[in-house]
């Protein structure tokens, strides 16, 4: 593609999609008559345009059902985990102090401990674990994108990889 051909790139896409207005159409045709590269690009675009993916039948309904299920589980009342996992014996009195201590250790490792990123006190990779993190916190190319905030779903190998990324 010649340097000047960049001006025609969007028009080529619009022509392939059969939505180029009459005025721009004549302007593009004049260029195509003397530019073999853009003519070849148009042929490639038209060929690709003519072969869209066939989305599996039933996918829409399947996804809608999954979304409703996720929504329902998100709005269900949360179980009392301390009671369910520790019962009502003497352990229960230690549950909250233990959880708080574990959280403090976690915060120290993530922010102030080894591998912390100097600056704002937040490790930017913490956001990279969440695919739904807001814009501005997405990881750049090459950084880890674990894909799921639930660490319990990651394999040992993935956890080791994640740890290496956080410590690097």
């Amino acid at each position: 593609m010649n340097r000047g051909c960049e001006f025609y790139a969007d028009a080529l896409v619009d022509r392939a999609a059969e939505r180029l207005e009459t005025g721009r159409s004549a302007w593009l045709d004049a260029h195509l008559s003397e530019c073999a590269e853009c003519a070849a690009s148009l042929r490639a675009l038209e060929a690709v345009r003519a072969s869209p993916l066939d989305v599996p039948a039933g996918l829409e309904a399947r996804v809608q059902a999954a979304v409703r299920g996720a929504r329902a589980s998100a709005t269900a009342p949360a179980p009392d985990l301390a009671v369910r996992t520790l019962g009502r014996g003497p352990w229960r009195a230690w549950a909250l102090p233990l959880a708080a201590a574990a959280a403090l250790v976690g915060i120290w490792l993530g922010v102030g401990g080894p591998g912390a990123v100097p600056g704002n006190g937040l490790d930017s990779n913490m956001f990279a674990m969440d695919d739904t993190a807001p814009y501005g916190t997405w990881p750049a190319d090459g950084l880890i994108v674990a894909g799921d905030p639930m660490l319990s779903e990651l394999s040992l190998e993935e956890l080791e990889y994640l740890l290496q990324e956080l410590e690097s």
């Binding site: 896409v13 042929r43 993916l53 066939d54 989305v55 599996p56 996804v63 996720a70 894909g147």
Partner: protein, 184 residues
């Protein structure tokens, strides 16, 4: 593929507000408006229809759970497609490498032709194009397919790819250049 009823910003904002409140009909319409584009991203990364369908479902479940945190700094569409790209890449790492589809054209729609000879020719060209697209590197493949099939701008493609707009533009042009060579 795009639902014109949801393409307008004001309409989308209203729909989004309803969806964030948990309105099931709005959530259904949100899925209807975007599931094909989400599937497209999943398929272009994973190269497998079943895996792409799973990634599509996972993308929407994640998105709905995080809908309350969506800050409208980008369009809902690019936000969803970004989640789709990350979800598909993550799924790809959990399984094996991307399925090789260069020799198997993959699932493409075929146009109904009137003349059998003409239809056969068009089908052959479409299959060749689908195979050529599959041979591009991932970012070029995504840039080209999102531009051609989903009508995304280079800025929107950049948001999906997690790159600069310039890089998205370069990936698109390199992809078209490679397609030209493969289809010559």
């Amino acid at each position: 593929m795009r639902d014109p009823a949801l393409a307008g910003g004001a309409v989308e904002a209203d729909e989004l507000a309803l969806a964030q409140e948990g309105d099931e009909s709005a959530l259904d319409r949100l899925v209807s408006a975007h599931y094909q584009a989400v599937y497209e991203v999943g398929y272009r990364i994973l190269g497998d229809p079943e895996a792409a369908a799973d990634a599509t479902q996972e993308t929407f479940v994640k998105a709905v759970r995080a809908l309350g945190t969506f800050r409208r700094e980008a369009s809902l569409r690019t936000w969803l497609l970004r989640i789709a790209a990350n979800t598909a890449r993550s799924a790809g790492r959990k399984t094996t490498s991307r399925r090789e589809v260069a020799l198997d054209a993959g699932p493409v729609q075929h146009m109904g032709g009137k003349d059998p000879a003409q239809e056969a020719l068009m089908r052959t060209e479409a299959d060749r194009a689908a195979q050529a697209l599959e041979q591009l590197p991932e970012k070029q493949r995504l840039a080209v397919s999102l531009r051609i099939y989903q009508d995304l701008s280079h800025r929107e493609i950049a948001e999906v790819l997690g790159s600069s707009e310039g890089a998205a533009r370069v990936n698109y042009h390199l992809g078209i250049k490679r397609l030209r060579e493969l289809l010559a």
